[in-house]
């Protein structure tokens, strides 16, 4: 089945079954490997992308349902002002350890801040709850989001594991 979908402001035509999840269209058909395959069953959040600005798990979105919606991935999230500031905050706070989940974290954080520029701590936790970080960088993720939103950091950031 031939589909033309808009990914990162570019029209891409692909010939795939309608039930192929967007994740494998991005990674294995279009070569956009920044979106990560973690669990493949919508539990880890590593594959989070924006569909019309809303954070969605790409492994749970069949290609056939994308239609004319705009898909944005980690490769292009920095084209929005908020996305760029989130990426910079991730570096400033030194959020990343192994880094495998962080594309998904950044996509969820950006979607949150686009919709809610000053999220309360519990709103941050709620919006980020579906993004698992196996190195446990959660405190620094919250700190980075609070920095972007211009709010005071609500607690001392602590390190996680070391990936080993």
């Amino acid at each position: 089945m031939s589909y033309t979908i808009t990914v990162n402001n570019r029209q891409r035509t692909v010939d795939v079954p309608e039930d192929m999840p967007l994740l494998w269209l991005l990674r294995d058909e279009l070569g956009l490997v920044g979106t990560k395959y973690g669990c493949g069953i919508g539990l880890c959040g590593a594959c989070t992308v924006h569909i019309d600005g809303v954070a969605q798990r790409a492994c749970q979105i069949p290609v056939g349902t994308v239609g004319k919606s705009r898909v944005t991935t980690i490769e292009a999230v920095g084209e929005s002002e908020i996305g760029k500031r989130v990426q910079q905050a991730w570096l400033d706070v030194d959020v990343i350890q192994c880094g495998y989940c962080q594309a998904g974290q950044i996509m969820s954080a950006t979607a949150l801040l686009e919709e809610n520029p000053k999220p309360a701590p519990d709103e941050i936790d709620q919006a980020m709850a579906g993004n698992i970080c196996r190195c446990a960088t959660y405190n620094r993720i919250r700190e980075a989001i609070q920095r972007v939103s211009g709010q005071p950091v609500s607690f001392e950031a602590q390190g996680g594991g070391n990936g080993l």
């Binding site: 999840p21 994740l23 190195c135 990936g163 080993l164």
Partner: protein, 421 residues
């Protein structure tokens, strides 16, 4: 507060593991010694040793020897080299080493040993390269080497006021014989400019932009993606597989059985399904009809283990792990006692990056891209199982999306290699 027996047991296990690593790594100090290999100047960059090369414009390339798993080692070990090299950190580029024990010594990630094992050898690597630059500048200026000092990427002859950039003498330095590191004076740590300062991980900007740096991001022209169906029971073997229906599934290019050697950490029997897209390969498993011989492992089950554990718990303790003070007397005199039994399931490592490996077999040579904590062990396993000489195998050490010990094993490397071959 080490009174929780579970905590004590964890610590005990960890110490045991670290000790084993120490023994295994004992050779490192010797192996990692200082590279004396000088390469012919096939590039404009002057190669001072296996770890350091300097371009005419002063750009310093430092090799990071160990696998990067988020612990920051790809940045940290080059910092140590750059410190003794007295390089300007702003001019340092870091390159991940290939797996090559003869050039770089032991290369692995596990047990938090990289810093203690490599700190002195990496300092010596930098000091040897710096000494070569110093002697090259001395020769160029026709002054004694003892009068030449360095300052963040520049050579200085104080009494004449002359200075030279590292890049200007690197080619000349590369022709010199490296000194015995034991004869070189290392920096006083109070003079450190790089070590001891906060330096951000070299690849973190790539991660926030979604650049392909993890093992699973490897893409080669025309590559296929395989799933490998294995027996759900340890020790099981493949009896039969019917592949006709699998081969008719969308996107599937090949499907075949692979005979393993029975070692779970190397290669177990399985069915490889190769497709143009992981989703096609995985979906085609639904069409696979396969029969396994579970073997004696078929009798094992989580419920069976739990039952056995309960029985053992009812018996007298077999080993005393910890006794602190006089618990019998304390409990006898306590106003209230609480008794509880705790049990843990077997833990999955749950690395967020699925186990994966890319392998290219061509003309008797095998090239591997793997997120492995122990690439050298993987290379040995691949050579053994596939019957290839070790020097026919090269391994690119890709960034690892979490290991937690799972990637001390290299089964996925042997699987990918066997499928590629």
């Amino acid at each position: 507060m080490a009174s929780d027996p579970h905590i004590d047991r964890l610590d005990h296990g960890r110490r045991f593991f670290l000790k084993a690593s120490m023994l295994a790594g004992g050779g490192l100090a010797l192996d990692a010694a200082i590279p004396v290999k000088l390469f012919a100047a096939t590039t404009p960059n002057a190669t001072l040793n296996a770890f350091v090369s300097i371009a005419p414009d002063g750009a310093v390339t430092v090799i990071a020897k160990n696998p990067e798993i988020g612990q920051g080692i790809k940045t940290m070990l080059p910092m140590v080299i750059a410190e003794e090299l007295d390089a300007d950190w702003a001019n340092v580029r870091i390159e991940q080493a290939m797996n090559n024990a003869s050039l770089y010594g032991t290369q692995f990630a596990g047990g938090s040993f990289a810093t203690p094992m490599n700190y002195m050898p990496m300092r010596q690597v930098g000091a040897v390269a710096r000494d070569m630059l110093v002697r090259a500048a001395a020769a160029q200026w026709n002054v004694p080497a003892a009068e030449v000092t360095t300052n963040a990427g520049r050579l200085v002859h104080a009494s004449s006021g002359r200075t030279l950039a590292y890049g200007a003498v690197a080619a000349r330095a590369a022709m010199l014989k490296p000194a015995d590191p034991a004869t070189l004076k290392l920096k006083d740590p109070k003079d450190f400019r790089i070590v001891g300062h906060s330096v951000r991980g070299i690849d973190k900007p790539k991660i926030v932009h979604g650049e392909p740096i993890f093992g699973i991001d490897t893409r080669l022209p025309g590559m296929l993606i395989a799933t490998y169906e294995t027996c759900p029971v340890f020790g099981g073997t493949l009896k039969a597989a019917r592949l006709d229906a699998v081969l008719k599934q969308p996107g599937v290019r090949h499907a075949f059985t692979v005979k393993g050697n029975g070692e779970a950490g190397e290669l177990v029997d399985g069915v490889a399904i190769l497709a143009t897209n992981w989703w096609y390969a995985n979906k085609a498993r639904e069409a696979l009809e396969v029969e396994w011989d579970f073997g004696p492992g078929g009798e094992h089950s989580t419920a069976g283990y739990a039952e056995q554990a309960e029985k053992l718990m009812d018996q007298q303790p077999m080993t005393l792990i910890l006794k602190d003070g006089d618990p019998e007397r304390a409990l006898a005199g306590a106003a209230k006692t609480v008794e509880a039994r705790y049990s843990y399931p077997f833990l999955a490592h749950a690395t967020l990056e699925p186990q994966n490996c890319t392998a290219l077999y061509k003309d008797g040579k095998l090239e591997i891209w793997a997120p492995s904590q122990t690439p050298q062990t993987g290379l040995e396993a691949v050579a053994k199982v596939l019957g290839l000489p070790q020097d026919a195998i090269t391994i690119h050490m890709m960034r690892i999306g979490g290991g937690f010990g799972r990637r001390l094993m290299n089964d996925y490397m042997v699987q990918a290699a066997a499928i590629a071959k």
